[in-house]
Symmetry: C2
Subunit: 142 residues, 2 copies
C-alpha cells in the first residue's frame, strides 16, 4: 500500500529551521539560490546542496510549496496553505492572491476528462502596480 497522506516526521535540524523561517519571512517566492543567500547570513557554512535537499524534504512533508514556473529556476513558497498566485508578465514578480474558487470546478474537470482529479492550481497573469506605473509613464513620453 502507498502511504499517501501519512507524512513521516522529519528531524528539525538547525538548517531546516532557518530555511523554513527565512522562507516564511520572504513574502516573495524565492528560488533555491535566493533562499541560499538568505540562509547563509545566519549559517555561513551551509551548502547549496543542503538547501536543495531540504527544500525537497519540506515540500514533501507539506510545510512549504513548490511553485510552477515557466522560467528555468524553481521557486518556493513558504505559505503551505491553499491560495493562488498572480504573476507579473513584465517583471515576473509573483504575489499571493486570496480567492475562493468553488470545488465545483474540479467536478467539471472530472466530467471533462478521464483523470481522477485531486486538486487544481490557478494562476493569474497580469501587470503589477509598479510595472503599470512605469508603463504609463513610458506611454506619455511617446
Amino acid at each position: 500500500m502507498t502511504d499517501d497522506g501519512l507524512q513521516k516526521p522529519i528531524r528539525m535540524t538547525r538548517q531546516r529551521c532557518v530555511i523554513l523561517d527565512q522562507l516564511r519571512k520572504m513574502k516573495c517566492h524565492p528560488s533555491a539560490d535566493e533562499v541560499y543567500q538568505r540562509v547563509r547570513e545566519e549559517l555561513p557554512r551551509v551548502s547549496l546542496g543542503t538547501i536543495y535537499r531540504n527544500l525537497d524534504v519540506l515540500c514533501e512533508c507539506g510545510l512549504i510549496q513548490r511553485l510552477e514556473t515557466a522560467g528555468t529556476q524553481r521557486r518556493f513558497d513558504g505559505n503551505a496553505g491553499e491560495h493562488y498566485h498572480v504573476r507579473c508578465i513584465v517583471c515576473d514578480r509573483i504575489d499571493d492572491i486570496e480567492l475562493d474558487v468553488p470545488d465545483e470546478i474540479e467536478q467539471r474537470a472530472r466530467e471533462a476528462g478521464d483523470f481522477d482529479i485531486v486538486g487544481h492550481r490557478l494562476e493569474f497573469v497580469g501587470i503589477c502596480p509598479a510595472c503599470r506605473k512605469a508603463r504609463s509613464q513610458n506611454a506619455s513620453t511617446n
Copy 2:
C-alpha cells in the same frame, strides 16, 4: 511604445517547420530534448541549440506555448489556443482538458488584488487512467 500584440513575421525555415510540425503531432507536452529527438529523425544534423532557439521564437510569436511545470525541464505545447491541462501526479503525464471557465473569475481576481489581470492559467492535478489501474492492481495484492 511597446509593441504588444504585434508579432513580427518569422522566417519559415525547414527547421522551424519540422519543429512546429512535430510539436503539433505530439499530443503529449514534450520537453526541448524530446522535441530534439523527434526532429532529429527528419533532420539528423539539427543541433539542440537550434531547437531551444526556435522553441523560444515560436513561443514569442504565439505559434506554440510554453508550459508551466514544476520539474526541472521546460515543456512545450503545440496547441496555442486557450485550453487547460491535467497533470498526473504519478507519472507526470499532461493531457489537455476542455473546460469553460467564466471570465468572471478574472474579475474577481482584479478585485482581490492590485494587478491588472490579463489572463489566467488553470491546471488540474490528478491520477491518469493508466496509473489508476496500476495502483488498484497494487492495492489488491496488498
